[in-house]
């Protein structure tokens, strides 16, 4: 028997097998633990989740009917900043260079106010939709009045000629604020809260015009309520200011504003509405 040729119990095999197993086991553990450690420590996953979240949150505000005004909150995670820019959202920790990004389509009918909230400056991102405007607010920003109309900006009568009388007194009775191709009469009454009612004739453009007037009066003073009401001349007395509106074939409206000392602001709002429309 030649003992020197036996391969049993060779020192190479005895030492290499456990070493190799240990090395591979360490590699396995490192391979598993490093990505797991990465998820928790760099917070990349949170950033990657928040960016599409905020983008889709912004899109969903535009998915409600245009006449709906709303306030809706999105809670921001501590330590993250968010920038809503032109058709993109960036979520970052220290600087914008380390941000996660997500894109969204923007509706040209809405005016979206871009904002950049630095990390830890706000606990929530508040979207406020009022008429055409969508604002993104932080904790300290004041929420605007939610009473406002949504007017189709494409409806513009560019060929009409008008004369605007900004000095008319509408607090004592009905006054003519606008004459020419567009007829606007108005009256201001005293009451506790500001309300605007605009009476329109059958001309389809009158309703769009009335919408602009309400929008501009709302810019002058917060409204408690508004209404755009079509009138039927057959049901009105001849001395009713709405009767003249009903009898007019062109663009004609009667604006009835009530509130505490609204005369000046109402006339200014009506004038801006006319300038917007013609």
């Amino acid at each position: 028997m030649n003992f020197s040729k036996s391969r049993k119990g060779q020192s190479e095999q005895l030492s290499l097998a456990p070493i190799l197993t240990s090395v591979v086991a360490m590699l396995v553990l490192a391979g598993i633990l490093l990505p797991i450690h990465g998820f928790g420590s760099t917070r990349n996953l949170e950033k990657k989740l928040m960016a599409p979240d905020i983008a889709l949150f912004t899109e969903s505000v535009e998915a409600v009917f245009p006449t709906v005004n709303l306030v809706v909150d999105y809670g921001l995670l501590k330590g993250f900043g968010a920038r809503v820019d032109s058709r993109q959202v960036m979520v970052y920790e220290k600087s914008i260079e380390d941000s996660a990004r997500f894109y969204f389509s923007q509706d040209p009918n809405y005016l979206l106010g871009y904002r950049d909230f630095a990390p830890n400056t706000t606990s929530k991102l508040r979207a406020v939709k009022v008429g055409h405007a969508i604002s993104l607010l932080g904790d300290v920003d004041k929420v605007p009045s939610l009473v406002a109309p949504y007017c189709d900006k494409a409806k513009t009568a560019q060929t009409l000629k008008v004369q605007i009388n900004k000095n008319v007194d509408i607090s004592q009775g009905v006054g003519t604020v606008v004459s020419g191709d567009v007829a606007v009469t108005a009256r201001a009454r005293l009451s506790d809260e500001v309300q605007v009612r605009v009476f329109v004739n059958q001309n389809p453009e009158s309703a769009y015009f009335a919408c602009r007037i309400v929008e501009e009066v709302q810019n002058e003073m917060p409204l408690a309520g508004f209404a755009i009401i079509p009138v039927n001349g057959d049901l009105l007395a001849h001395d009713d200011p709405r009767f003249a509106v009903a009898q007019t074939g062109g663009v004609a409206v009667f604006v009835d504003v009530s509130g505490p000392s609204v005369q000046v602001k109402a006339v200014r709002g009506i004038a801006s509405g006319v300038t917007d429309f013609v």
């Binding site: 197993t21 996953l45 899109e59 969903s60 245009p66 058709r87 894109y103 923007q106 040209p108 009335a210």
Partner: protein, 148 residues
């Protein structure tokens, strides 16, 4: 010698599986194509709806200027859509958003992309009309989609 051959292969496979499966699952969470499609679908239907200053939203009526009503400012996202209105006995009108991507992706939409299509009955200029909103998204938001 079996250690040198079987162990590395088996363990490499095990490591790759254990690392890629959670990554794949987490990656799916940041690819909300289904949610994106659902929100965009609703947006497009709302966008093409007629709004009157007097009576408000007219839910079953499509805006007269469909092309203008359905236009969006498109981002770099790989997404395209088509809104088409087919009035009864009338000429078909429509609008394609992100036309380059949409027309490129449409022939292979079912194979390589995610497609959402919804059809509803509405009124267009006083006439009953079939309205279709069709959207195509890339399967993933990262990187360039093959071919488009």
């Amino acid at each position: 010698m079996i250690y040198w051959v079987v162990y590395p292969i088996l363990l490499t496979f095990t490591v790759l599986t254990l690392v890629t499966i959670p990554l794949y699952v987490l990656d799916k969470a940041v690819q909300p194509v289904q949610l994106d499609g659902a929100i965009m679908n609703e947006r497009l239907w709302v966008k093409i709806t007629e709004v009157s200053p007097v009576v408000g939203v007219r839910e079953n009526v499509v805006a007269q200027d469909v092309r203008r009503a359905s236009a969006l400012s498109i981002s770099q996202k790989q997404f395209g859509y088509q809104v088409s209105v087919e009035p009864k006995n009338g000429e078909k009108v429509g609008f394609v958003g992100n036309a380059n991507f949409y027309t490129c992706a449409l022939p292979v939409a079912n194979l390589s992309f995610v497609q959402f299509t919804q059809r509803r009955q509405k009124f267009y200029k006083g006439v009953p009309a079939g309205v279709t909103v069709d959207q195509i998204f890339a399967r993933s938001y990262d990187g360039e989609q093959k071919g488009c």
